[in-house]
Symmetry: C2
Subunit: 255 residues, 2 copies
């Protein structure tokens, strides 16, 4: 039987430890091709490159792995891989492992998750993985067992059309992780606080900073599952329609 073809991408850049770990985990399951950004692309959301051009390099990072470093965003990587790199449609697209959480509202800012969403828009099976540890030296091996279990499960039980997975892994040792919990996106937001500075020429400039405000203590929310020591999985869709509000809005506007 042919091994599954797995496309791996991320938003921290092709040399980040998170993606190298994910490549290793996926190599035990299928044939892996990596198409990932040649530079950090955190917070790029679903951005695509339309007002400038893209270039790529085939690089050799380890073993027989095929690695392509693209000058674009995570979403560009998925589009480019499908149109220009892959020999056939992949059986799965995985993105990550992100250095840092993409739980709750972070899914919308996340380049990691946007790559998975783009793959879903292309009709492919797709999963984004993130570890709740921002550091470059994070230990990604603690998630291996869960990541491989989820991937094998999805290869056997494909997701319905229009759905991809957002998987977050708590920053705990493998034997401390309590299991896997399927959740909804917690109601949370970032409270902005721009840090104002003066440049050497006397002009003000600003750094975006802020803190994460979780307003949701629901037992079925991903933030709660993570706090309780579970791997959280949110099924994510890209039909953004608030179907439940169509009828009422129609009445209001057609009065």
């Amino acid at each position: 039987m042919q091994k599954p073809l797995i496309l791996v991408t991320n938003d921290d850049g092709i040399t980040a430890p998170g993606i190298r770990n994910l490549v290793n985990f996926m190599s035990e399951i299928g044939d892996v091709i990596v198409v990932a950004p040649n530079s950090p692309q955190s917070g790029k959301g679903h951005a695509i490159t339309i007002n400038s051009t893209l270039t790529y390099e085939e690089i050799q990072l380890e073993g027989s792995q095929k690695d392509y470093a693209l000058s674009g965003t995570p979403v560009d990587c998925v589009k480019f891989a499908l149109d220009k790199i892959l020999p056939r449609r992949p059986d799965l697209v995985v993105s990550g492992i992100n250095h840092g959480s993409n739980s709750s509202i972070n899914v919308i800012y996340s380049g990691t998750m946007s790559a998975a969403v783009e793959a879903g828009m292309e009709g492919l099976q797709a999963i984004g993985f993130s570890l709740l540890d921002f550091s470059w030296e994070a230990d990604f091996t603690q998630g291996k067992k869960f990541i491989q279990k989820i991937v094998r499960n999805i290869l056997e039980n494909p997701l319905p059309k229009g759905i991809v997975l957002n998987v977050n892994i708590p920053n705990l040792k493998e034997n401390e992780i309590k299991g896997i919990k399927v959740c909804r996106q917690a109601d949370a937001k970032w409270e902005e606080n721009f840090d104002e500075r003066i440049n050497p020429h006397g002009k003000k400039y600003f750094w975006l900073t802020g803190y994460f405000n979780n307003m949701d203590s629901g037992k079925d929310a991903d933030e709660t599952a993570l706090t309780d020591g579970f791997v959280s999985i949110v099924p994510v869709k890209f039909d953004l329609t608030a179907h439940e509000y169509i009828a009422e809005l129609s009445e209001i506007l057609n009065d």
Copy 2:
């Protein structure tokens, strides 16, 4: 009674005819402050600027209007306006008028709509407006009556928490537009086709191109409404959870 405070932003840049028209339309309804990108930001999705800094200039574009040109993305503009510019929380955030459609799946790539979504995440009333004409010289006045009607309606009947509006205006004369239709996001996608070229140094580079593939002829889809000559309005939410799939996925993964 105090006039409503309206924040206006866009993704085509602060000098684009689309936003200047929207500013004019909004000035007849409330006090308007503009915080918009100082350069085109189409296709930036929900990108934010975290690995570099932001600067802004207060500029005088017309009349007594307060205009702030920010060096960031549309989402940066909303965050920055709330934290650093506005005297109080605005009663409404409007984004656009985009030069070109943001119907169906385009909502996810759109900087215009991402700005509206960001405002919604901040708990604000928010609407994105787009005209189905990409040209810089597009006639935006045809949408004035509908845009003002929608805005006045929303100021009187606030949207529920977690919902913003995606409004698209067909490229027709005002008297040819059949009315307003509340819709769902059509099932459509872009088919990529990267255009390969060779630079003067012999290296390959690529332009992202493609065509729009509407796979949805449903009468309740926004693409259909636009084709039929209606202004389409999709209520958009940013809880991306596929709630309907949580129970089944939970069974599959915990087998």
